[in-house]
């Protein structure tokens, strides 16, 4: 039998877990915010061949590493309430995962499409957001910027 005494506090483990969860949360947040405005979307477009995905993921990774670098020395020698911080981490993870789910992060896109009468609501997100915003109004003769950017799939 191997005897293993508990010597290390749980602070470093919780710092790693909470920081990773925060990184996932920031990933979800960036994904959602990128749909809110063209300005944010363009600001995240750090490398055009890949598009805004570079900005979103890079910010998430930076946020994760900065959070870890801040939490590890702060919690390194402390025994924290595992239950409390584990729940915080799971909450951040849940929100982060939900915000990377297209029917959720594309809600702003659907609302924008609705406002501008975009006909490309054959997209999953649009059909989902249509339930929230109501039916798409009939198309007008003037074409919106979105209707030229996205193919008409109706």
């Amino acid at each position: 039998m191997t005897t293993v005494p508990i010597e290390k506090p749980n602070g470093p483990a919780l710092a790693a877990i909470v920081a990773a969860s925060f990184g996932v949360f920031v990933l979800g947040l960036c994904t959602f915010l990128a749909e809110l405005s063209a300005g944010i979307l363009n600001a995240l477009n750090w490398w055009p061949p890949v598009g805004p995905l570079v900005g979103k993921t890079s910010i998430a990774v930076i946020a994760w590493l900065v959070a870890w670098a801040a939490l590890h020395p702060a919690w390194g020698r402390r025994e924290l309430s595992f239950r409390v911080w584990w729940r915080v981490a799971l909450g951040l993870l849940l929100i982060g995962f939900l915000l990377t789910f297209p029917p959720i992060f594309q809600i702003p896109r659907g609302k924008l499409s609705y406002r501008q009468g975009d006909p490309s609501c054959a997209y999953v997100s649009c059909s989902f957001s249509r339930k929230l915003t109501g039916p798409t109004p009939p198309r007008t003769s003037s074409s919106s910027p979105l209707s030229t950017a996205a193919p008409a799939l109706t």
Binding site: V4, N10, I17, T100, P103, V124
Partner: protein
């Protein structure tokens, strides 16, 4: 059948690294779940060494998957030319969801896998043998491992569906 360079990168990204990830995940989960202090010291040391190798293999393969996927395979996928896989998918009504839902979910959620796996690697390395005694940390480590797997599987399955519709050869 002869593969282009893009095809080879896709094979590396999805099949080779995906297989390494799956094997390492299964091994790490087994080692983590069976870590018991009832074992003799040599057995315990052997299982612990295997656990660390497998967990770090999960983390490294997850990082390589998202990096090759996002920075290499994704570039020709989203090219503006009509021949690009994205254009082909969006041009067909029934296939459009493979981009607007599948690819858009896959490209984001997969990045959670390496972040979580790296945190797991740190915990396993830092606490090492203590994980056998600390049930809370061992269970948390298993949850991180499973969530990392879930994020990767979402990416893998959706990637397979996209690849089946518009193969990159």
């Amino acid at each position: 059948m002869k593969l282009t360079m893009e095809g080879w990168w896709t094979v590396l990204h999805g099949f080779v690294l995906g297989l390494v990830f799956l094997l390492a995940f299964a091994g790490a989960l087994m080692a983590l779940g069976s870590l018991r202090h009832e074992w003799t010291p040599p057995e315990f040391a052997r299982v612990l060494r295997r656990l660390k190798i497998r967990v770090w293999t999960v983390a490294v393969s997850a990082w390589l998957m998202v990096i090759t996927g996002s920075y290499i395979s994704y570039v020709p996928y989203r090219a503006s030319s009509p021949a690009s896989p994205k254009s082909k998918l969006l041009a067909v009504h029934d296939l459009a969801a493979l981009h607007t839902f599948a690819m858009e979910w896959k490209e984001h959620v997969a990045w959670a896998a390496p972040i979580l796996a790296t945190a797991l690697g740190f915990i396993v390395t830092y606490y090492s043998a203590e994980l056998a005694t600390r049930n809370d940390l061992r269970r948390a480590a298993m949850v991180l491992l499973v969530l990392s797997f879930v994020a990767s599987v979402i990416g893998g399955v959706l990637g397979f569906l996209i690849y089946k519709a518009v193969p990159v050869l």
